[in-house]
């Protein structure tokens, strides 16, 4: 039984990381119908930016702050203006292809600085706790708690603040939102900015484990994508649920089913969700338009 909880807890810690990246997927999808295939790279770039600032001797909090500013400008504003805005009216195909191109460019651009994995300072002390036979590290707990707080905080922001509600109104119905006098382009930009900030936060939390490497976004992006679909692409809470399900699912599957097919469990769930509840476990149904 302790073994089970060991797996469960590790899975939750890993899953909360997926959730954080998945949240960005769902936010962008809701606000602008963007499926960002460069989402993993959006986490990788801030990790390198922080390392770069730190290498100039800046303290971590300052480099984190500067990275956020930079990310809002580049991953938020420039991404929206340069890629999403011109392609928005053409639909999903074009944005998918453009973000694929973007991910190739980002990954290989960073690769030019080196193909090595770099260690990344952890926010948490290197301490291990033993609770009833289950060993957890401080970073497991810290990552889980912080990631949950970020997801819940984003939720609260969207639900409780005027700006957040305006953003949700835009996500649900752009036309009526603009009739209500909401500045739609600005709200969409806010969503992109939040996505950029979340990416920075995710970078801070995941990089100590994933290690700063040019291709770290690849597997993170895929897992987050699965998580977002399972949870519900148009629901931010779904991202959390989806992330945790994928994280826990692959651990339990590796231990109790087959390590080689551990991804198949998340995959099977993914397929079932798509075919029988395509809006995701927590997503709301989208009307099929004639």
């Amino acid at each position: 039984m302790a073994d089970f909880f060991q797996l469960l807890f590790s899975g939750l810690a890993t899953g909360s990381i997926y959730a954080l990246a998945a949240l960005g997927f769902t936010l962008l999808w809701q606000a602008s119908g963007t499926i960002n295939f460069a989402q993993g790279e959006f986490v990788m770039l801030p990790a390198f930016a922080m390392l770069a600032f730190a290498s100039f001797g800046m303290p971590m909090p300052l480099s984190f702050f500067l990275t956020i500013v930079l990310a809002i400008a580049v991953l938020g504003w420039a991404f929206k203006r340069g890629i999403v805005d011109p392609l928005f009216r053409y639909g999903m195909m074009q944005i998918v292809v453009a973000t694929i191109g973007l991910s190739i460019a980002m990954r290989n651009g960073v690769r030019l600085t080196g193909a090595e994995a770099h260690p990344f300072p952890s926010l948490f002390a290197d301490r291990i706790y033993n609770i009833a036979g289950v060993t957890v590290t401080q970073s497991d707990i810290g990552t889980l708690v912080l990631a949950m707080l970020l997801v819940i905080g984003t939720q609260a922001f969207l639900a409780r603040t005027i700006t957040g509600r305006a953003m949700q109104a835009v996500a649900q119905n752009t036309e009526s939102a603009s009739v209500l006098g909401i500045n739609v382009p600005r709200m969409i930009f806010y969503t992109f900015a939040i996505n950029a900030i979340l990416a920075c936060a995710a970078a801070l939390l995941v990089t100590p484990v994933y290690l700063a490497k040019f291709d770290m976004g690849e597997s993170l992006g895929t897992k987050a994508f699965f998580a977002a679909v399972i949870g519900g692409f148009n629901n931010s809470r779904g991202a959390l649920l989806g992330g945790l399900i994928v994280g826990v699912g692959e651990n339990l599957a590796a231990a109790y089913v087959s390590a080689a097919y551990k991804d198949a469990v998340a995959l099977a769930l993914f397929m079932v969700v798509i075919l029988f509840k395509p809006q995701g476990l927590l997503g709301r149904k989208e009307e099929r338009k004639v």
């Binding site: 011109p86 053409y90 973007l102 290989n108 075919l275």
Partner: protein, 335 residues
């Protein structure tokens, strides 16, 4: 007029394809063959995505199924000529099965479902080692013979691939000109209206997947014999996304879109190698810029020029009308 120029253009391109390899060394011939293989695969995807409007991100799975079918059968001692139709048949059936989700879900959800199928197929290729060789892959896949002629040489295999591509290209062209082509397009543009007009949405959806899958399967079979080695890596989701990119960049729903798109996906990175370390960065950026510049694909350029000319003429006509009206009004007030 448009038809004539298309015929001239096609014949010139064909002639170039026939003559080109004689001016190239083996690397160039290999690259051209590689390109042809991807043209064939992308043609199939263009039918599924570009004409029938079914968003598929699982095309590389069919490509892999075709490749593994031929490789495994040839290793078991069967001829390539048995493997090729087997690959096509297996892909056809799998394509129909994969089409069923498309009857339930559309747009991005369909893309997700096909992506899931691709991942599942890839896991099988990697894990079922006794059949597929797992991550070691299958090595020394032979090239076929045709009427006693060995296709082992680079040039012979190139012409063989070219021949297959042309035959399948003509078949697709014939299909798209037939009522089926219209039915697929109707399905893409407006499935509900199509059904109310008697278009059997279910059959055409499934067939759009199945026929697309056959093209990918045949391409996969040619790929296995071309590289003479396969492992699961080139049949993953990444490859599906690349094929999707080829279709969209070339111009979905344009018959020659895959030709241009596969050139971007296969030949462009090779050509960009002069940029050395930067080449993939340049490639990725080029894709982004191309998409922003031509969201409907490279082959939309003529349409775009025509549309621009027409709108210019229309606005000129409008301006003339306004001037005339103003002149009339002037007269009226003057009187």
């Amino acid at each position: 007029m448009k038809k004539q120029s298309a015929i001239i253009f096609t014949s010139v391109a064909l002639l170039a394809l026939l003559v080109a390899p004689h001016f190239l060394k083996s690397y160039g011939v290999y690259l051209l063959t590689y390109w042809l293989v991807f043209i064939l695969a992308a043609m199939g995807l263009n039918l599924t995505v570009g004409y029938a409007g079914q968003k598929s991100l699982g095309h590389a799975a069919f490509f892999g199924i075709g490749a593994y079918t031929v490789a495994i059968m040839m290793k078991a001692g069967f001829s390539f000529w048995l493997g090729l139709p087997a690959a096509a048949a297996i892909c056809f059936v799998t394509g129909i099965l994969v089409g069923f989700p498309a009857l339930r879900v559309q747009t991005i959800y369909l893309a997700f479902a096909t992506l899931g199928f691709n991942t599942a197929a890839w896991l099988v290729m990697r894990n079922e080692e006794q059949y597929t060789g797992g991550t070691f892959g299958i090595n020394n896949i032979a090239r076929p013979e045709l009427f006693g002629l060995s296709l082992d040489g680079a040039l012979a295999y190139y012409y063989f691939t070219l021949g297959v591509t042309i035959v399948f290209g003509l078949l697709l062209f014939g299909l798209l000109r037939s009522p089926w082509g219209k039915a697929f397009t109707a399905l893409r543009d407006n499935p509900i209206r199509a059904e109310s007009l008697g278009v059997d949405v279910r059959n055409y959806t499934l067939l759009s997947f199945a026929i697309g899958a056959v093209y990918a399967g045949v391409a996969g079979a040619l790929f296995a014999s071309l590289v003479q080695f396969i492992d699961p890596a080139p049949f993953g989701v990444g490859q599906s996304i690349m094929m999707y990119l080829m279709v969209v960049i070339g111009g979905p729903g344009y018959f020659f879109g895959p030709v241009v798109g596969a050139a971007v996906g296969v030949v462009l990175p090779e050509w960009l190698r002069f940029a050395q370390d930067w080449y993939l960065f340049v490639f990725g950026s080029a894709v982004v810029l191309l998409m922003i510049w031509l969201p409907d694909g490279l082959l939309s350029i003529p349409d775009r020029i025509r549309a621009r000319r027409e709108s210019r003429e229309a606005s000129a006509a409008r301006a003339a009308a306004v001037t005339a009206a103003a002149a009339n009004a002037g007269k009226g007030s003057g009187a």
